[in-house]
């Protein structure tokens, strides 16, 4: 790919410059400017535009929270934990890489050996109060287990606000219904990956 389009930093012709007066530098100029702003009621000019449009019911913004914008598949909001399609079991293998890579140190996990001598994730939490939604965890995860979801309404009255493993896991009924969605953002599997897998010969 050529880089020219990025290297040319001249703004295109579609743009035009707004004619704005320079900021005053002299004391007299500054004084005059302050007087203008105070007595010419510039503030009300803007306010009037808003009011006018309001009465005309001619709004151009989304009426949040009644109305919400659809968000892209790569949007990085509160994490989700995926399950395997084949068996519905959790994908996370407790490798701890997400915990290790997290630059704001907000992931904590603990693992143990379970009754079947398999590795089990016994605790998993993310402190959303610290998380900066950088996406590193999702990127490093070797199992495509932790991903970012679309849930961005996570305001809280606490600075510390945790999500636990259970909250993030795809509910089983969703698995039954086959509606678990895959994350398509960074780190996701590339299309047609399966065709590229080579099988071990089993000629014995």
């Amino acid at each position: 790919m050529k880089n020219e389009q990025f290297n040319d930093r001249n703004i295109s012709n579609d743009y035009f410059k707004v004619d704005i007066a320079d900021y005053p530098t002299t004391d007299w100029g500054k004084f005059k400017c302050a007087l203008d702003r105070t007595f010419k009621l510039e503030l009300l000019v803007g306010l009037w535009v808003v009011l006018r449009e309001m009465f005309k019911f001619n709004t151009h913004t989304v009426k949040y929270p009644e109305e919400k914008m659809p968000i892209g598949p790569r949007y990085r909001a509160v994490h989700e934990m995926k399950r395997l399609w084949e068996s519905d079991t959790e994908r996370c293998i407790g490798c701890g890489l997400c915990e290790k890579i997290c630059i704001s140190n907000c992931i904590r996990i603990d693992t143990k050996i379970d009754e079947n001598s398999r590795k089990e994730v016994s605790e998993y939490s993310i402190n959303l109060g610290r998380c900066i939604f950088c996406g590193y965890c999702a990127e490093v995860c070797p199992e495509l287990a932790i991903v970012h979801g679309g849930e961005y309404e996570n305001a809280s009255d606490q600075r510390e606000h945790f999500v636990m493993y259970e909250d993030m896991l795809t509910p089983l009924d969703k698995m039954k219904a086959g509606t678990q969605s895959e994350f398509e953002g960074f780190g996701a599997i590339t299309p047609h990956e399966e065709e590229r897998v080579k099988k071990t010969p089993l000629a014995y």
Partner: protein, 745 residues
């Protein structure tokens, strides 16, 4: 010196040195899979192949010595292909479980698979089902095992248990407990350490953390005077938990750990800060007549205690270190040197050794491993003089010299007599030996002169000899004379002497503190010891202080080496330095005292932060520093031999079971807590008790209750009584005439 070339670079090698070690010394990389420096090369992997000009085929660099003028290539295309093919074979049907495997991130197979770029498996064989096995503290997963045999070799050559072997069966070969259905070994865990893959893992650690999550803290083992180098690996627990030690690792390439060091790491003190207790401690010390302390402390703490003694004019009690100091004083009065001459390395290099007065396998596993190495690598002749046989030493020693309990002085006298037969002694020394009533000593000690002759015969061609002296001798009534005899042997023969201190820092304390004879006073503050007010890192203390894995400071080990140790876990309460500050002895940190340690006894004025703590590339021990040699007056004279004492009836030997040493090891969760009185069938008859009886045992003025266990591995009329759980004073002569009565329930 041998001159040869690798890849065109001229190198020098010592005579007999292998191509691989010479290459490694010179930073030339040759990949290996089965090589481990501390064992003889087993040559099972063929990864280390090299080409030698003029020689057909490939040569194994790990077991071929360099020869003069050889021109060696380590990286031709043919070699590369050979190695890639070996790696392909290793990877056949290897489970794809790096994601959960404990070894992932530090796995030799994983590393080499990436290094040689093995991306796919081009051929296959039908896999067979292999069950993972639980061997107590160890789990074995045969599907991950690459049969490199490192585990088998260390267990045999370095540890001496010889507990595992390879069951050969082609593709279905596995590692199995030797001649047994289950693993019954001393659980040093060294096999776990050397396993290059995740086949052998600690069952407690398994799946609890990954290599990249753990922080490493270099430290020194706190349990015995070997002072082995180790690394505590820590990580937080759970979502909100504090840090904990998850496992202990060591530089297994060159050094070994016993199970106490490897699995007994959780003896830290988690007691919270308590300022009331602190105030009480200060007033107790101000009112105290003495402070009693154990040798399980750092040099810096010992130094602080000495400063407190000076400031408050109180006494210091530590009979363990005091007895050791007295023994060393008598030794120095003949040898003219303050410190003993030997070390663990000297034992490893020895081709002849005498060990007297110690059940060494449990007293100091470090010495045991050094002896095993000497026996396996140098064919060392090892004479084990003790009243009790020890099965753990059976396949290491060449001669067992059984003597009667209490007669150590006589034994040492006849040993010296035999060893110094042709020595050029001075008048008074000659007079001592001429005065000996050999007939009487042979009869009382039960050592025959044929035994001594055999010993001298087997030592005939040896060059590096060591005399190892254990606690039964140090704590003996006549220890002073025995010490002088040991020094005499060292002075007039080619023996070097290793005196085995009992606790991790018995040696350091004996050089730092001026100790008083322990008396039963009323106001004694105990520091990690008994007293009317106890300051301790153990549970149930009046003021909590940090344990040795929560402190920085230094200790002196059996090699006369000052070793640093670091803080693995945080401690929130008060330290001895806080107490000292409250008493007006001001310093910011405990380690500010490191450079002020007593230089008259060989300490150097070195800052704590300047002490290194690692083994160098070829295994050179450069931890801390070795105490300076201190010359002292050699004017000691041997005393005439007293009548040898007699011990009749039921005797118990206070000796801890494998992996237990003291109250600290008793606090750890993985180490087995075997607290039976163990005796032989013969002992049962003599004491009129039988297996499983609850008995009351009395000796001195102590009375305890224990269950008796008949132990088929024991012989004779001496029973073994553990001390780690009852805290009998460390300085006691460990054989006791005892009264044993069955408790009727």
């Amino acid at each position: 010196m041998i001159n040869f070339k690798i890849n065109g670079i001229s190198l020098e090698a010592n005579k007999g040195e292998t191509i691989l070690t010479a290459a490694r010394r010179n930073d030339i990389y040759i990949p290996t899979m089965c090589y481990i420096s501390k064992t003889t090369p087993c040559g099972s992997c063929r990864m280390c192949v090299v080409e030698v000009q003029g020689v057909d085929g490939f040569i194994l660099s790990c077991n071929t010595p360099a020869v003069e003028g050889a021109e060696i290539t380590t990286n031709s295309v043919a070699l590369e292909n050979e190695r890639v093919n070996i790696m392909k074979l290793y990877d056949v049907n290897h489970p794809l479980e790096c994601g959960v495997c404990d070894k992932s991130g530090e796995c030799d197979l994983q590393n080499k698979t990436l290094e040689f770029n093995i991306e796919k498996q081009n051929f296959s064989t039908r896999d067979i089902s292999r069950d993972r096995q639980n061997w107590g503290l160890i789990n074995y997963n045969p599907s991950l095992c690459i049969l490199c045999e490192k585990c088998v070799h260390v267990c045999n050559e370095n540890i001496g248990d010889d507990a595992i072997e390879i069951k050969v069966g082609g593709y279905s070969s596995i590692i199995v407990p030797k001649d047994a259905d289950y693993l019954d070994c001393t659980f040093c865990g060294e096999c776990i350490a050397v396993c290059p893959v995740g086949a052998l893992v600690s069952s407690d650690f398994e799946y609890s953390a990954n290599a990249w999550e753990l922080s490493r803290v270099p430290a020194t083992c706190a349990h015995c005077s070997a002072g082995c180098p180790l690394e505590y690996e820590t990580k937080h627990t759970g979502v909100n938990g504090m840090d904990e030690i998850y496992r202990v690792k060591n530089n297994f390439e060159f050094s070994s750990l016993c199970g106490a060091g490897r699995f007994g790491y959780d003896f830290d003190n988690s007691a919270p800060k308590n300022s009331d207790a602190f105030d009480k401690a200060i007033s107790s010390i101000k009112n105290a007549e003495a402070i009693r302390f154990s040798s399980i402390i750092t040099n810096e703490e010992a130094h602080i205690l000495e400063l407190i003694k000076d400031r408050l004019g109180i006494k210091l009690f530590n009979d363990d270190a005091r007895k050791f100091a007295e023994f060393m004083k008598a030794y120095s009065s003949v040898s003219g040197k303050l410190h003993h001459s030997g070390s663990l390395e000297a034992i490893k290099q020895a081709d002849a050794a005498i060990i007297i007065g110690s059940r060494i396998a449990t007293d100091n596993p470090g010495v045991r491993y050094a002896l095993t190495t000497a026996a396996r690598h140098n064919g060392a002749k090892i004479v084990y003089a003790h009243p009790m046989e020890d099965v753990l030493m059976q396949n290491v020693i060449t001669q067992f010299m059984k003597y009667e309990v209490g007669t150590e002085e006589g034994v040492m006298a006849v040993l010296a007599h035999a060893i110094l037969a042709d020595a050029d002694l001075d008048e008074s020394e000659k007079a001592f030996f001429d005065d000996l009533d050999l007939g009487y000593i042979y009869a009382e000690t039960n050592i025959g002169d044929e035994e001594l002759e055999d010993m001298m015969k087997s030592f005939a061609r040896s060059k590096n000899r060591v005399l190892i002296i254990g606690n039964d001798v140090i704590a003996h009534e006549c220890s002073a004379n025995i010490a002088k005899l040991a020094a005499l042997i060292e002075k007039y023969s080619n023996f070097c002497v290793v005196i085995v201190p009992r606790e991790i820092n018995t040696l350091g304390v004996s050089l730092i503190n001026t100790l008083d004879k322990d008396e039963d006073l009323e106001n004694v503050v105990g520091y990690n010891a008994n007293g009317s007010f106890v300051i301790s890192s153990l549970e149930g203390s009046d003021l909590a202080v940090p344990a040795l894995n929560q402190q920085e400071g230094s200790v002196v080990n059996i090699d006369n080496r000052v070793l640093p140790t670091n803080v693995a876990l945080k401690f929130n309460g008060y330290t001895l330095n806080n107490i000292a500050n409250a008493l007006g002895i001001k310093k910011d940190n405990t380690i500010d005292y490191t450079k002020e340690l007593n230089q008259d006894t060989g300490f150097k004025s070195v800052l704590f932060d300047d002490l290194e703590n690692y083994l160098a590339k070829m295994g050179e021990d450069i931890r801390g520093y070795i105490l300076d040699e201190v010359v002292c007056e050699a004017n000691g004279k041997l005393d005439k031999l007293d009548d040898l004492p007699e011990y009749n009836g039921t005797i118990v030997y206070h000796c801890d079971p494998v992996l237990q040493f003291n109250a600290h090891t008793n606090e750890t969760k993985q180490l087995e807590k075997d607290n039976f009185l163990r005796g032989s069938a013969q002992f049962c008859v003599a004491a009129r008790i039988s297996d499983g009886d609850m008995i009351e045992l009395s000796f001195g003025n102590i009375k305890i209750q224990r269950e008796f266990k008949l132990d088929s591995e024991l012989k004779g009329t001496i029973a073994l009584n553990p001390t780690y759980d009852i805290g009998i004073d460390a300085n006691r002569y460990r054989f006791d005439k005892s009264k044993i009565v069955r408790v009727v329930q």
